[in-house]
Amino acid sequence: MSSLQLDDLYLSFGDGDEEVVALDHVSLTIEPGEMVAVVGVSGAGKSSLLAVAGALRSPASGTVSIAGNDITNAARNQQAQIRRDHIGFVFQSSNLFEALTAREQLIYAARVAGRTGAAVAAEADELLAEVGLTDKSGRRPGQLSGGERQRVGIARALINQPTLLLVDEPTSALDHARAREIVELLREQTHSRGIGTVLVTHDRSILDLADRVMTMRDGRIEASED
């Protein structure tokens, strides 16, 4: 069963002469344990691809299935459930809650998925150890560096054992060395946990770490290379 299967997706904004095609008949399959990088200029449709794959938008046509669940026409609350149960998001500029410590970011995400208790707390500590933040688990985002924040974001995305990891420009705020470390971490986790990962990025210097690279232009997948 594929982590993500997109078939012939079409999505556009506006209408008539103003219509902008965001996804122009895009098909894509991601298998467990595979990290696919998606590159392309701004407006090429990368974010729309993430939005549809992340159950944040429904496509105008085509089908979306995550871990075997067809969510093409899911209602908003069903989409939310798919996100809690199957998807881990790593956002651009990490997108952490200002008021929560690193550890609490993970515990909150688990609570959203209905998981509480000592086991979850232990899992959070374990994940923070895996991303190398054991000694900073009590710090809030304001007290963490950009790279550390991104590590917390990755740990948070993994806490609910997702089948699909969607990563949006994770290195945009980092220098080259840190950027590679972050993507290496993502690659490790993708392989060791058997997660399907979509990595949207501008940063061509890290593409060698991906299992596959796809280039998008004008809403189409233009090239796919292994």
């Binding site: 459930q81 956002f91 651009q92 008021a99 909150y108 995400a109 959203v112």
Partner: protein, 365 residues
Amino acid sequence: MYLALRELKYAWGRFALVGSVIGLVAILTVMLSGLASGLVDDGISGLRALPVTNLAFSPNSHSTFTRSTVDSDTVSAFADIAGVQAEPLGVGIFNAKLTDGTPTEMTLFGVEPGGYLAGSITNGGQLAFESDGVVISQGLADSGVDVGDHIVLDRSGLDMAVTAVASEATYGHVAVVYAPIDLWRQATYGSSPNSSGLASAVAINAPGGTDLAAPATRANVDVVTKNEAYSGSPGYAAETSTMTLIRGFLYVIAAMILGAFFTVWTIQRRQEIGLQKALGASTRSVLIGSLGQVLLVLIAATTVGALIGYALGLVVAGGDVPFSLQPGPVLAASATLVLTGMAGVLVGVRRITRVDPIIALGGAE
């Protein structure tokens, strides 16, 4: 609430700011509530203490004793109904001088000696009226009038001996003095022979469900309930409506402050609200967290404010200001403040439900 509680702790300064404003409003609300009850007591406690259910006034007198005159036939029209007690009641405000020459004023309540009203005033017959004696209320006793003193009414020169002291009672902000109805008639109408049997109103004590409308029509009087009759007390309607208006404004102000705070706070957190939803939190749980957060601040601020207001009230209550603090009205005012505050917050709710989780993705526009 996991995130909401941690936000409360983290951004406590902002919540403390809005909380202190709500606390101040709560103090004001409690103080006003005490002042309003105090004014009401000062206006009608003498009437409220009488064991009557209804009062009959002459037509179009708008429950004002000094505009109304009834005669003995009117009293009989009600007293003749089985199970109903009805007696003449005279009410008038008089200037007088105390024994030592101090000018004073009083509301003279004229009641039938030996009747059910007199029984209630004189504490079950222990304090009996004597022929020309009057019973003063506690307020006059506190200002130095003793049993055995004489009160002389201005103009008529009627001399009344104080024979007993009853509990605190005022009407129209003036201390009540109870007199036998004949003495009241003398004070009010002089020695005119036509005044026999006259009174201001009929004090009726009728069991619930008694038909008072038919006898009222026959006797050509307006029958009102005791509560309705309060509005005839001098200044009562104006005082209560002013207090109600001020309190109403306070509630509206509290609602608007909270509404504005919540709206700004929600706008500031828009990104994080989108993030919560993107992580899969339902709109319902996001709403519960956000509203619960404000509700906690509102309840805490109202409680602290009400307690401070209550403490201040206890200081004020001893003085000359008519002030009466009862737990009931204080609780009611606090509850109303919380409810109207939350109503104000509800205007911001759409800002939360409308947030699209897609904003969590940076370049998703």
